[in-house]
Subunit: 418 residues, 2 copies
């Protein structure tokens, strides 16, 4: 079958990626904080390119980017999109690839004057990465009226200022968001399609440039848990009188590691991470038994049942270590993102597009969460397409081949056009 | 046996502690910086009290306080003393108790006109706490000619000015100190006896008011070690493909914990601490597999052999975890402080004094370092007596009962008098 996209489209994609990379360059990789000026500047670059191509550009009430055909009819639209923010010192493709893929599809539809059965809108969401406010999917939650006043009080990791203030600054309608008012009519969204780089190593290992996602892992997390023990002179307190917070945390992680290994070996889908760990710089010392250590704990699985069962095990292990080591675990707020169900019809359409285009592809679960799961869990048919990517994501070394990306765009375009 | 010290001595001790506390009171606890005016004022309070009691008071060439009987004969003296400085917002007894104990002994010897076989000198050292210039034992090192020009350049944590300048200001002979010239004839010091509050919880737990120190723990430490793994998306990398730096460190600590426990149960003296632990705030995230974690590792033991043997075990465990988890440990600079050997004869004399006075006591290792270890490692017979103290030291909550202190003074007096 004839490819719809050619060398000029590939060059445009490369140019857009590069322009955004430049304005968000960090010491290594890129940094595009949620609800930041850099995120806004990214929208402006993509919006300007879209306007140049004769497309209509606007912001929705949650300050997300929306690009449409001029005079798009007011009927349920197929949304193609992803997010524009990144983790600190992350990679340029995570999120951004999905928005640029949507733009390329919309360009092509306008260029070829294709008459789609259903209008297409490209969405560039803000605030998907939890790194900034401790909670992910802020852009899509805001649209759905699912952010609470408590959420709006969440502090940005660097500025220390609340989410609501950051949202207001970029033009979101914080009053409506705080009121829990949905900012869109769910019936106006026919489907959510999201192209994203794979964030794990599976597609590289299996030599597949494109993956059709079968399900999205949910997660259960504690962002800022503490283990509290008793500080003391590192030389003067014998082992039997210690309540060392760091050793207690190490024991918790090793107990969880053993259980995790056992579950994995029985085929249970689960990953466990403690990405943020630290003793308190205001009081820690090489010669002081740590009386306190802060840590994050996150479990992910495609099965809500697995998450809840493992969580019970976390509580049991904490209680055991509290007894044996005389420490106290304070896990703090529990955050749950439910696993996301992929729409079977849309997944089948993506499969068929791969087949028709003879693009090598695999079926693959999404290990990471995505806005797609948020929309799916609110009744919007959602599907995802992965593009092969080396070195994972959330790090500056992510490595997507632009040829693989264009194959993904081709599949997406095929799936949304007659 | 009749006690040598009575109510009046106890009141004098209380008065001296209180006078010094008053001039060094901090928002919480006391602050007596090394080589500061507060340290000098402390000397003046003690010196004036000594002069009132008819004792001779002077400063040595390193500006430490020396109190002697008038017309003390020029023969090897038994030194009783400790240090006068404190950590920032520390406790009043850490250090000061040992100097006041010495003074009480000397008062009593003069009052009773006791003819000691060997003259007694009470020493109030400066600069023992490493909190101020990043290096401990400055007062005793200066006396022994062991401070380097590099040491004299060390900056005070608040003033930012070098140690040499601070020393000069309080009257030390910085030229001789900089030249590495010993300021005392080692042969003139017959022994170093130091009473000190216990800095751990053992004596409280064992209900012993007095402890005879069996040895001063040395230490082996890495201040800023790293475990390097591979960062990745916390949801998208399966367990078998992870190189998680935090889980690897947790495994190291648990392996060391198991070995430590086994060694302790066989009576081997050892404590292990990882007081400073942290993922890198510039790149860590709840949703990121940690690719790097920094940690300190410190082992203390009275036995150099134990330290070195356990250190080999650390290296073996690191190598094992590197293989199994695909991470790399970079331990960085290794710092060794050798254990201080306690003089057996003097320790036996302290034990005998406890027995004669029927003072309940235990044998106890000193977990913290002390000037006693510095003198011991330079060939001066050294011994230490601990006094029970609740809540550890280096904090404002240290809590020594004055009755326990007077029991310690009684033991010390008994050991240095016929």
């Amino acid at each position: 079958m004839q490819a719809a996209f050619g060398r000029a489209d590939r060059e445009l994609a490369a140019e857009l990626f590069e322009s955004v990379r430049k304005i968000s360059a960090a010491p290594v990789g890129v940094t595009r904080p949620s609800y930041s000026d850099v995120e806004t500047a990214t929208m402006e670059i993509l919006g300007q390119a879209a306007r140049n191509a004769g497309l209509a550009v606007r912001r929705d009430a949650a300050a997300n980017l929306v690009v449409e055909l001029p005079s798009a009819p007011a009927q349920p639209a197929t949304w193609i999109g992803s997010h524009l923010d990144s983790v600190p010192q992350g990679g340029n493709f995570d999120g951004l690839a999905g928005v640029i893929a949507g733009l390329l599809c919309l360009y092509k539809i306008r260029e070829r004057k294709v008459d789609c059965a259903r209008p297409l809108a490209v969405i560039g969401l803000r605030g998907e990465e939890s790194a900034w406010f401790g909670k992910p999917y802020l852009g899509s939650y805001a649209l759905l009226g699912k952010l609470t006043p408590h959420d709006l009080e969440r502090k940005q990791r660097d500025s220390g200022r609340p989410l609501g203030e950051h949202m207001e600054k970029v033009g979101a309608d914080v009053a409506r968001i705080a009121a829990g008012e949905p900012l869109i009519d769910l019936r106006s969204v026919g489907a959510w399609l999201e192209l994203h780089i794979e964030q794990g190593p599976i597609m590289v290992a299996r030599e597949a440039p494109v993956g059709v996602v079968t399900g999205i892992r949910g997660m259960l997390r504690h962002v800022a848990a503490h283990c509290r023990g008793t500080a003391g002179h590192s030389g003067a307190v014998p082992r039997w009188l210690r309540h060392d917070a760091v050793f207690a945390l190490a024991e918790l992680l090793m107990r969880l590691d053993e259980n995790w290994q056992a579950l994995n070996s029985r085929g249970v889908d689960l990953v466990v991470t403690s990405g943020v760990v630290g003793t308190d710089p205001r009081e820690h010392s090489v010669s002081r038994i740590p009386g306190d250590v802060q840590f994050s704990l996150e479990m992910r699985s495609q099965s809500l049942e697995t998450l809840e069962a493992f969580y019970q095990l976390v509580l049991v292990e904490c209680a055991g270590i509290e007894r044996s080591r005389g420490v106290r675990f304070e896990l703090g707020e529990r955050v749950l993102s439910e696993p996301g169900l992929i729409d079977r019809e849309w997944a089948a359409r993506l499969e068929q597009a791969c087949a028709a285009l003879q693009v090598p592809h695999i079926d693959i679960p999404s290990g990471a969460g995505h806005d797609a799961a948020v929309f799916a869990n609110h009744g919007i048919p959602a599907a995802m397409l992965f593009v092969r990517n080396d070195h994972g994501s959330h790090n500056p070394d992510e490595n997507m081949d632009l040829d693989d990306f264009m194959m993904g765009v081709e599949v997406l375009y095929k799936a949304v056009t007659p």
